[in-house]
């Protein structure tokens, strides 16, 4: 296991005003007993609502924060006492925070990182060449980082995180605030990284499309605890996600009509569009019954969406 945590915990003391001079302090557990094990080459999606403890976990895995309890091991090292050794073996992209030098051109930031990580010139050049072509960096290599667009900067950050050849890549919301094209570029690049299988990736995100496109395994955290750990399909099974049939009709949906094996979810467009949720029956059976009951114009079967599952998961807290 390249990443292993047992009952990892981080407490913060929060002080609140209580009267003119008095303050009361309460202890809040941002991460409350997280046990995870990630195998080498795995790509793990780590999701949860705001304030669930995602970033705090990542910061403990990377040696930024000292855990309040439990154990952590990354690449066989304990992050806090062995921070500098670990730093050479991991790459980190924090979407909201730059690793690059604000006032220097991107190319110079990369050169500086070569010295900081003491990477040999040939290795550095090879990795940089690879990233330059995959991420299309050439047009802005000589632009100071402060003048880059968010999409350009994020591509720079990804490159910066990979130049020293890390074993594990931690990505904290790498697609936050990006437009559709930049998101695609970032996802395409990460898929490429994952496909090679020599880098383990841990990714936090609010954009569930990232997870669907990239991660086979999904860990959902809420209130500092793991509420789901498994594949996307297992998540759907656990929360009973259902497929839907959406039908456009030639005549309005008769009030009170029901079909066995399906329930009516919504009736829209003045009765000309109906959405049915499958309850045990197959899509074929429901479509056949539907065709007998009403004149059909058009029809589609929708797979359950991860957004719905996660929304239910968050709402039920």
């Amino acid at each position: 296991m390249i990443i292993q945590t047992t009952l990892l915990r981080k407490d913060f003391t929060v002080r609140k005003k209580a009267g003119r001079f008095r303050r009361t302090s309460t202890t809040v557990s941002a991460v409350d007993g997280v046990s995870l094990s990630v195998a080498e080459g795995e790509m793990l999606g780590y999701i949860g609502p705001n304030g669930a403890g995602k970033s705090t976990t990542l910061k403990m895995l990377t040696g930024v924060l000292t855990p309040s309890g439990g154990t952590v091991s990354v690449c066989g090292l304990t992050p806090v006492p062995q921070r500098t050794t670990l730093a050479r073996r991991i790459g980190v992209v924090f979407g909201q925070r730059s690793q690059l030098w604000w006032d220097l051109p991107l190319a110079e930031s990369f050169t500086l990182l070569r010295h900081v990580y003491r990477v040999s010139e040939t290795e550095h050049a090879a990795r940089l060449r690879h990233c330059r072509s995959l991420l299309d960096l050439d047009s802005f290599m000589d632009t100071p980082v402060r003048q880059l667009s968010l999409g350009q900067r994020m591509r720079g950050e990804l490159t910066a995180a990979l130049l020293h050849g890390p074993k594990v890549l931690f990505l904290d919301e790498p697609t936050i605030g990006l437009d559709v094209l930049s998101k695609q570029a970032v996802r395409g690049f990460l898929a490429e990284v994952a496909a090679k299988g020599d880098i383990t990736v841990v990714l936090t995100t609010h954009d569930l499309a990232d997870i669907e496109k990239l991660c086979r395994r999904l860990v959902v955290i809420d209130h500092g605890r793991v509420v789901h750990d498994g594949t996307l399909d297992e998540l759907h099974a656990a929360y009973q996600s259902k497929r839907r049939v959406v039908a456009d009709l030639d005549a309005p949906w008769p009030d009170g009509l029901t079909l066995p094996g399906a329930s009516v979810e919504t009736v829209e467009a003045e009765g000309f569009r109906v959405t049915l949720t499958l309850e045990g029956a197959t899509a074929g059976e429901v479509v056949a019954r539907l065709a007998q009951a009403v004149p059909l114009r058009d029809l589609s079967v929708r797979e359950p969406e991860i957004e719905d599952v996660v929304a239910r998961l968050y709402a039920g807290r």
Partner: protein, 264 residues
């Protein structure tokens, strides 16, 4: 070993010079403002009465050591005071993610070359003081003449680091730290005999400010401490500086472990 830090430092100087006008103004004002230090020296030359039992030229030697030690420390590690910006904005995360020492990274990343001017000026004052003060030259004294200002710089450097470290717990800590660093600089320029009993005991000997300039100057002048401390203590400033530096380093490491980062 020094190479990555040197590269960081060069990068910092390069990014500073990107804003040319601002850099020029900084350099200009920091040079002009230190003209005040020179006024102190001139006053001491014209003093005929004794200052806390010492002649003006004796005191000039203490001023000289402090005039070198403080700006040298400020040049070397003074930029750690920017730690509170890093802590407040969460930028310290990036510092912790690099495979380098956090303290030396901060020192290199915020190095302010404009502070060189004050060190040059301080060195000049020290050399003038050595020429005019009645120094009792011998081999141990010559060694002390070289080591004392460096030890003083280490002492102040440790103070800068310790003062900045408070920001890990309490972000708006700048003024407290300044009280000790700038206050300490002013205090070390005078013979300890001018200060009152309790204050002297706590700051001069308890916190070690007497070791920066007063005690080594006594050794160079061949005086015993009129306050009655043993003569060997006058030679101890390199040692006390190392102790203070070790304490500051320990405090820094404790601070880093208490870093809380910021949301997301």
């Amino acid at each position: 070993m020094a190479s990555p830090y040197r590269k960081l430092l060069v990068a910092q100087v390069r990014s500073q010079t990107q804003y040319r006008v601002s850099f020029g103004l900084d350099l200009f004002f920091s040079t002009v403002l230190t003209g005040l230090d020179l006024a102190t020296v001139w006053v001491l030359f014209t003093v005929n009465d004794s200052l806390g039992g010492f002649a003006g030229r004796d005191v000039l030697l203490m001023v000289g050591i402090a005039a070198f030690a403080f700006p040298a420390a400020d040049l070397a590690v003074g930029s750690v005071e920017r730690l509170r910006v890093y802590v407040r904005t969460g930028l310290f995360d990036a510092v912790l993610l690099r495979p380098l020492s956090t303290l030396w990274q901060l020192v290199a990343m915020d190095f302010a070359p404009r502070r060189v001017g004050r060190v040059v000026q301080g060195t000049a004052i020290y050399v003038v003081a050595l020429a005019f003060a009645p120094v009792q030259w011998s081999v141990p004294v010559a060694v002390l003449v070289v080591l004392a200002p460096l030890a003083g710089a280490v002492f102040f450097g440790a103070l800068f680091v310790a003062g900045a470290t408070v920001a890990f717990w309490w972000i708006d800590s700048g003024e407290i730290a300044n009280a000790f660093t700038y206050g300490g600089r002013d205090m070390t320029s005078y013979p300890m005999t001018v200060f009152g009993g309790l204050f002297r005991r706590v700051f001069a000997y308890g916190m070690g400010f007497a070791f920066v300039a007063y005690l080594p100057a006594l050794a160079m002048l061949g005086h015993s401490d009129p306050l009655g401390t043993p003569d060997w203590l006058r030679w101890c400033s390199p040692l006390t500086s190392l102790v203070v530096a070790a304490l500051a380093a320990w405090f820094w490491r404790t601070g880093v472990r208490h870093y809380r980062s910021t949301g997301s």
